[in-house]
């Protein structure tokens, strides 16, 4: 697969179809990879593909620095490619302005990351080029098991669980920076009139930050899990994201990252949406 990837990337650059290829390169350790930006066909041999290709490289697509870099091609796993769908829907990129190279993927990490156990996009969708064999999707039946497990506890326990988790947050914002869908030029925590979210990483500030981060991803999160992976405190951020994905699916029948034409759930409505909550 690596050779095929390099070959394709080389072709794209040689033909001038793209100006740069964003892919994975060799990391500082055999169990890591590092994003590489390749501009010359002869550098395409730096591209690698292995089970340590964690990063969701689509998060680079919305960067201001990239606006002047020409047309990019981006190497994506199936999960990552979902972000392209959302970015297009939210008018952050034009689909035709990026070439998506999808990689068939049997999961990343050693042991496999949690998200890979319920992956239905092992053969990536919505890509311009797919490299690698067709791989059967896995069942998503049990994907919310961890969410349900926490829900089984009573409110006070859940509160305690999250309070302890969030108290470890150091507000480094790696979750935000790594997220392909956190592309706001000015994040809500950087707005200080009024200061909506306390900037300090004390438990109260952390709670406000994490609840807002999750809420802003409602109906948008594509489940790539980068936020959780990059968190230096190992806070289970995906639990909250998954909970919201579950709510959105149950209530509005929407799953993020699949259909480029379906309206965004949090920017649309149906008159017959549930009124159960309201007195």
């Amino acid at each position: 697969m690596i050779e095929e990837l390099r070959q394709k990337a080389r072709e794209l650059l040689e033909k001038g179809e793209v100006d740069l290829v964003i892919g994975y390169g060799e990391g500082s350790d055999p169990t890591r990879t590092m994003p590489v930006f390749i501009r010359r066909p002869e550098d395409c041999d730096r591209l690698v593909w292995n089970k340590y290709c964690y990063n969701n490289l689509t998060s680079y697509l919305t960067w201001p620095e990239l606006k002047t870099a020409g047309k990019p091609a981006v190497v994506c796993k199936g999960c990552d490619a979902k972000a392209v769908v959302v970015l297009c829907k939210e008018s952050q990129i034009n689909r035709e302005d990026v070439v998506v190279i999808g990689m068939s993927c049997e999961g990343v990490g050693e042991p496999l990351l949690g998200k890979c156990e319920f992956c239905d996009v092992r053969t990536p969708k919505n890509c311009d080029i797919v490299i690698g064999p067709e791989i059967e999707p896995l069942s998503k039946e049990k994907q919310y098991e961890d969410v349900e497990q926490l829900e089984g506890k009573d409110a006070a326990d859940r509160w305690e669980f999250w309070r302890d988790q969030f108290s470890r947050c150091i507000k480094c914002y790696a979750c935000r920076q790594a997220c392909p869908l956190c592309y706001c030029t000015q994040c809500i925590v950087e707005r200080n009139q009024p200061q909506w979210v306390p900037t300090s990483s004390h438990p109260k500030g952390n709670f406000a930050w994490n609840i807002m981060r999750a809420m802003h991803l409602a109906g948008r999160c594509i489940g790539c899990g980068e936020c959780e992976r990059v968190c230096p405190s190992n806070i289970p951020l995906m639990l909250a994201n998954k909970k919201l994905a579950q709510v959105v699916k149950e209530q509005f029948g929407y799953e993020s990252g699949y259909d480029i034409d379906e309206p965004l759930p949090m920017a649309s409505f149906m008159p017959e949406d549930s009124d159960e909550l309201f007195k």
Binding site: V147, L150, E151, A155, A156, D157, R158, W159, E160, F161, W162, R163, S167, I188, W196, V197, P198, S200, S201, H202, P203, K204, G205, F207, A208, I211, M212, A214, M215, A218, G219, A240, K243, L244, V247, V248, Q251, F252, P265, M266, A267, S268, F269, M270, P271, D273, S274, D275, L277, F278, K279
Partner: protein, 147 residues
């Protein structure tokens, strides 16, 4: 503060066109309702950011009430429809994080429903009074965080 001195603090975020008018009607109709609610008027429920609720708790609220026009009656046509989706999701998130459901109440109160407003406030205040002060949230005060 001794427990028997405690009065619940309820913040109500209401829309200008329906619920605020409804609350007004409750007043002009001389309906009596609990005084522990502080009303904040906004143009529309669509304007109410989930952050408002968080901020209210941060600043010491024990309960929050959000209310606007009935679906279909929005002054801006669809503001409350959007708000409805937002609250459906947000209430689930709050629940997931262990914030008691009775501390946050969402409702629709029209300009004609002064009595409903009074009842609603009484009910919310009653429930929050039962729950007691929201110390769980207030105690995660800006404590020193070490490493």
């Amino acid at each position: 503060m001794a427990d028997n001195d405690w009065k619940p603090k309820i913040i109500a975020f209401v829309c200008n066109w329906c619920t605020y008018a409804g609350a007004d009607l409750a007043g002009t109709s001389r309906l009596k309702y609990d005084v522990n609610v502080r009303v904040i008027k906004l143009p529309c429920t669509g304007r109410i950011d989930p952050l408002f609720i968080i901020k209210a708790f941060e600043q010491g609220a024990d309960g929050v009430l959000v209310s606007g026009c009935h679906p279909g009656d929005c002054h801006y046509t669809s503001g409350n429809y959007h708000a409805r989706r937002r609250w459906i999701v947000f209430s689930q998130l709050l629940r997931f994080f262990g914030i008691p459901e009775d501390r946050v109440q969402f409702s629709w109160v029209s300009a004609a429903e002064g009595a409903k407003w009074a009842d609603l406030v009484n009910e919310v205040v009653g429930k929050v009074r039962e729950l007691g002060p929201f110390t769980a949230y207030h105690e995660i005060e800006s404590a020193e965080a070490i490493s």
